[in-house]
Amino acid sequence: MIQYVSMKIDGAIFKVPKGSSVLDVAIEYGICIPHLCHVPNISDLGACRLCIVEHVVEGRSKVTTSCTLRVQEGMVIKSNTQKIKRLRKNIAELLVSQAPNSKAIQDIAVRCGVKTVRYPFRNDNCVLCGRCVRICREQWQAKAIGFVGRGKDRRVKSPFGVKSETCKMCGNCIDLCPMTITPCDGPMKPGEEYLCGKCESQLMEAESAVDQCIMCGLGEGFQCARH
């Protein structure tokens, strides 16, 4: 039998199955919590930090990622406070400076209200979201790729940099990677990166309704678990 708990997100009360994550609940009920590394039915890693929310416990709030936060009875979550918006915008800014060559990440930056990028563009073509690693490990049981190195040298790699014998050639790692959809104007050259922000209409929507899902279609196909 499924057990239910009641919890609050942005003042609205929900009765939700025990064990689900706060992000899943928000997605189901149309509250926009931007997210990148979350993939439905795959374990959550909390790598991109975009899905942060405030978790209020006894009047004190803790900022934490909602994809790794399990619902509890009487939980109070705030997903769009000024503080969260500010932090999230900064995270999106860092992501876009790391990997400007992805339409998905450019779109997330638009949705999070990024107007200028204050960090140097690194154009590393990977944000270490771990989508590829987890789908390979969990869905395909192939364990062909993984994180290698640590700190600033962390990379996604197959062992010894050659194609793994265990790779099943399913291509899911590529399908799920946010880097596979390039900006509309084509891939950016190193040294010529920019913040795209071309989707004017979406930008307007993003400003007028930051906290609700507007089925914005940004990064459709793989970024938002709602699509």
Partner: protein, 163 residues
Amino acid sequence: MQPQPLETLLEGRRSQPHQLIEVLQDVQAQYGYISEEAIRTISKELGVPLVDVYSVVSFYKAFHLNPRGKNVITMCTGTACHVRGAKLLLNQAISQLGVQPGDMTDDKLFTIEHVNCLGACALGPVVTENGSSHHHMSPGKLRKLIDALRARDEKPEQEADHA
């Protein structure tokens, strides 16, 4: 001393994934590095996916994927040592030995490495050579140290040649 074969190191630890770090440490201690072959064998024998073994080896500074020289010269490039000229020491070692940090010289005698802090900031710049520390180093002192090590290690080989 002849390193123990991998077979011996694996004895009693087969099919025990939690023994991974211990086995890797033993291999590192015996061979000075962990070869691709060793990683593949360990993965098979312990039942740990290859990519996980590779991740672990690449994660810890204590494990090395490439062979290392007989003498490992480690520069501290932490803040205090940096301010006191660690960069000059590094350049000295690079130009004297002709290799980049992490690589081994062709005669298999030296490897240069740098670390972020050795915890002896007041004595900086600090250089360790095969585990023993040298404080207040200067490029000149470092050159002499490398020369001395080279003289020491090259001799036995020449004697062996004569014999």
